[in-house]
């Protein structure tokens, strides 16, 4: 048998479709409950270096101090610091389904105590690129309470506000 007689190369379908249970953990669960029940942004502040973590987490990424229960309230207003617009079809990795067009995604610096704050990647209501500016003030718009599920998507988007 020589090389030339070989047929085309074959594909074999043998994938595995697996689903995992992903835990939010105690810190994130607490903050998601707070979003759902009280429409509040519960961040956590490092007692040592004062960095604010949103979502709250067990240790400070910067200085490794335990954050404990040093809760701080953030938002609901914030400042737009960066934004992009997705032009291509994208797949939701959680479900494998196609995501249709989505509003501009933005990094919003949620207001925090003493001029501090924390960044969050979320959507803007404003879709006109001409109108989106760095430093623009925005406010979180929540789903109605009965529709909230304890997810980051309980916040629908951020709406431009005049201050």
């Amino acid at each position: 048998m020589t090389e030339e007689q070989q047929p085309e190369v074959l594909p074999i379908i043998a994938g595995v479709d697996f689903r995992f249970k992903y835990p939010a953990g105690v810190y994130m669960s607490k903050c998601l409950h707070e979003l759902k029940e009280n429409a509040k942004f519960l961040g956590i502040q490092c007692p040592k270096c004062k960095a604010i973590w949103w979502p709250p987490q067990v240790v400070c990424s910067y200085c490794h101090a335990e954050t404990g229960t040093n809760w701080v309230e953030l938002g609901p207003r914030g400042t737009v610091v960066n934004w992009v617009v997705v032009h291509i079809p994208s797949i939701d990795p959680r479900t494998g389904e196609l995501k249709t067009s989505q509003p501009p995604a933005a990094v919003i610096r949620l207001d925090g105590p003493e001029g501090g704050g924390a960044n969050w990647l979320h959507f803007l209501e404003e879709t006109d690129l001409e109108k989106i500016k760095k430093g623009m003030r925005v406010e979180a718009v929540f789903k109605p309470k009965e529709e909230r599920e304890g997810q980051a998507s309980d916040v629908l988007f951020f709406r431009t506000v005049e201050e």
């Binding site: 074999i12 043998a14 994938g15 595995v16 479709d17 697996f18 689903r19 995992f20 249970k21 992903y22 835990p23 939010a24 953990g25 105690v26 810190y27 994130m28 987490q57 067990v58 240790v59 990424s61 910067y62 200085c63 490794h64 335990e66």
Partner: protein, 389 residues
């Protein structure tokens, strides 16, 4: 080895089934439960002034975590910000070896190694099936249990090992686990209970495989001078070797464990051990299935080939025997994927430190910690630890 390296502190969580609590903790929260104790024990921090931990190694398996770049979920608690943070995508025991070489090379002085898995959140059978090549083995529906069953059957056939002997490994494991506060499965069992439990893949029953549990294990390694300053009970790594066998199960006589023999010989040679059964006081070995303990004892040279069953019968591997094997109960009493081998090293360290509580083997000076990965033990690692430098 260019520099001597010691393990200066170890910690484990209690191994438990997190699905019972609706997966209460996430990866970093579970890992931090073993990170905090080692930091407290050693008073080490992540300071950059030469006194702190220099680097971290995160051990988790992307396919068991259900996510690529999975160390991104555990690095913060290992203090990786702006420093070297490597990620071993295999058993944590490989991470300890990696930390050893990082330190021995002179690059770092103190390295923290953490391993974690949440087994109960993963679809075990699918994850295991995914580990087989997509053309020749995956479509036969293999998982680690059915592959293990092929090995068990071949081993029993070739050497006359009985199912009762295999079952008694589980009985011993559970009995030992009673003394281990971290163990998950500690109920009393008889060999009849084991053999009478649900048949998964003949001859392996439900009680002969490791239960699905979750947890983490962390340890800190340091070079000689710093190790002596950090603790008065440093445990020295005297020898280590790992080895891969060939891939296709049909290439191997599954009753052999060639890669384990190579790994064991390499580790013994490095540690200067000539008679393992006499010189090793206690062994913690990676046992995913009951027959593993018998076969691995042969590969480790605790007995001749085919004598694994007789070794168990003789009581030599029981607590109080000549070479107690798995005083902690091992993975058969519950230990998650990835953490399994790491926890064996942690247990060996506790034995040598004299901190093993009710499962302490008296006067243990030299311990063996073994880890295995892959179908039918394709990869093995043997590490020799000593109390004295």
């Amino acid at each position: 080895m260019a520099r001597r390296v010691a393990i200066v502190a170890v910690a484990q969580t209690k191994y438990d089934d997190l699905s019972q609590t609706n997966w209460k903790y996430n990866w970093e929260e579970l890992l931090y439960q073993s990170v905090k104790p080692v930091l407290e024990e050693t008073s080490l921090t992540f300071a950059d002034d030469g006194t702190g931990i220099d680097a971290s190694i995160s051990c988790n398996d992307t396919i068991w975590m259900g996510s690529p770049f999975s160390a991104g979920k555990t690095d913060d608690v290992l203090g990786t910000h702006f420093r070297s943070g490597e990620k071993i995508d295999a058993d944590g025991a490989m991470g300890v070896t990696e930390a050893l070489w990082q330190i021995a090379s002179g690059d770092f002085d103190i390295v923290i190694v953490g391993g974690i898995n949440i087994d109960s959140a993963a679809p075990r059978n699918k994850v295991e099936n995914y580990c087989f090549d997509p053309f020749y083995q995956r479509l036969m529906g293999l998982d680690m249990t059915s592959a293990g069953a092929l090995q068990a059957q071949r081993y029993m056939y070739r050497y006359g090992i009985t199912r009762e002997q295999c079952a008694r490994v589980v009985v011993k494991s559970r009995r030992n686990a009673k003394n281990n506060p971290y163990a998950f499965a500690t109920e009393d069992l008889s060999a009849e209970d084991v053999l009478g439990s649900k048949m998964l893949a003949y001859p392996i029953t439900a009680l002969e495989i490791k239960p699905l549990v979750d947890g983490s294990c962390t340890m800190i390694l340091a070079e000689e001078e710093k190790a002596k300053r950090i603790t008065d009970k440093p445990i020295w790594i005297k020898g280590v070797k790992n080895c891969y066998d060939g891939y296709y199960l049909g290439d191997r006589d599954l009753s052999d464990c060639k890669s384990l023999e190579v790994a064991a010989q390499g580790a013994y040679q490095m540690a200067g051990i000539t008679d393992p059964r006499k010189e090793i006081d206690v062994a913690e070995i990676g046992v995913d299935f009951s027959y593993h303990e018998l076969l691995w004892c042969e590969g480790l040279g605790f007995c001749s080939r085919g004598e694994g069953g007789k070794l168990l019968d003789s009581g030599a591997t029981e607590m109080g025997g000549e070479t107690p094997v798995n005083p902690s109960g091992g993975a058969l009493a519950g230990c998650p994927h990835t953490v399994e081998g790491l926890a064996r090293i942690a247990e060996a360290v506790l034995q040598l430190q004299g901190e093993a509580g009710a499962r302490q083997v008296p006067q243990a000076k030299t311990a063996l910690a073994h880890a295995t990965l892959g179908a039918c033990g394709q990869w093995h690692q043997v590490m020799i630890l000593g109390k004295e430098i």
